[in-house]
Symmetry: C2
Subunit: 144 residues, 2 copies
DNA sequence: TATTGTTATACTCTATAACTATA
DNA sequence: TATAGTTATAGAGTATAACAATA
């Protein structure tokens, strides 16, 4: 594990942090438009993608189970999500978005795409492809 | 403003969000090692870089002035930072890191560099240069 | 009167642990 | 006894507005 030369990594470290702060600020703005926090918005996305158990949400979000309960209560009170008992194991809960929840989730994705797209507009077509490939490697995802 | 084709931007939108969450989680871990939050750590870095007025901190951090006051109180109580009256305009406060504050800030930078470097290790030397150039463009910074 | 920064208040978020229901 | 999830409690973070001191 020799690794790349230090000054480059140092600059990357600053730039990476700057990008993170930039995107974090934009994401918070976008989600606030629907009155949701970062984690509330993420719960909507994860449930839409098929994560239907609170304990799985806690793993994805890297938070405590109790916090997931709070998040679910708030989203249920907002009419965005329903909690249903699992007929196969009555300790478990199955999560499902309401119609309103699906609509809000869709709007959030669109708004995030617009906000983020404004930053991406600084890059040219070829650079976007490069950036995608680098992000795939960095995040360990084959396809986004 | 035609912009790039949508499916690519959509994948980039997901990958960008994933990277942001990844880096956010790592940054929180790193700063927690010194018992500091994201913003507390950022105040240390900004003050070290010469941002010496609370109002300038509020701009950089995109938070309310009152929150800066709270951050400064906590950092001062931790012995990391001092508030000194500006002799030229006694409404103003000049911020300066203590020795302990400088040491903590240095350790945080090193720890962040290590944590982030582990992710960068997924890229090869040439890719790192590409990634730096793309990040420079995206964050609007000439040099990080 | 405008500016800089702090304090007061209420509200949300987060962490730990105790608790309930089911298996 | 172990597991899934919730509730209780306290603490940290955040937003708004009122405030004090100085210019």
């Amino acid at each position: 594990m020799k690794g790349p030369p230090l000054p480059l990594v140092e600059e990357l470290s600053r730039l990476g942090y700057a990008l993170m702060r930039l995107l974090l600020a934009r994401a918070k703005e976008v989600f606030a438009q629907e009155g949701l926090s970062l984690l509330q918005a993420e719960v909507l996305r994860l449930v839409k993608e098929g994560v239907s158990a609170p304990s799985r949400l806690a793993e994805h979000l890297e938070v405590q189970p109790s916090q997931v309960s709070h998040l679910l209560v708030s989203l249920e009170e907002a009419g965005l999500l329903g909690r249903h008992p699992d007929p196969e194991d009555r300790r478990r809960v199955l999560l499902r978005l309401t119609e309103k929840g699906e609509a809000v989730e869709r709007r959030l994705q669109e708004a995030w795409l617009r906000a983020y797209g404004q930053h991406l507009a600084r890059l040219e077509a070829g650079e976007l492809l490069l950036f995608r490939d680098l992000l795939r490697k960095l995040t360990g995802v084959e396809r986004g």
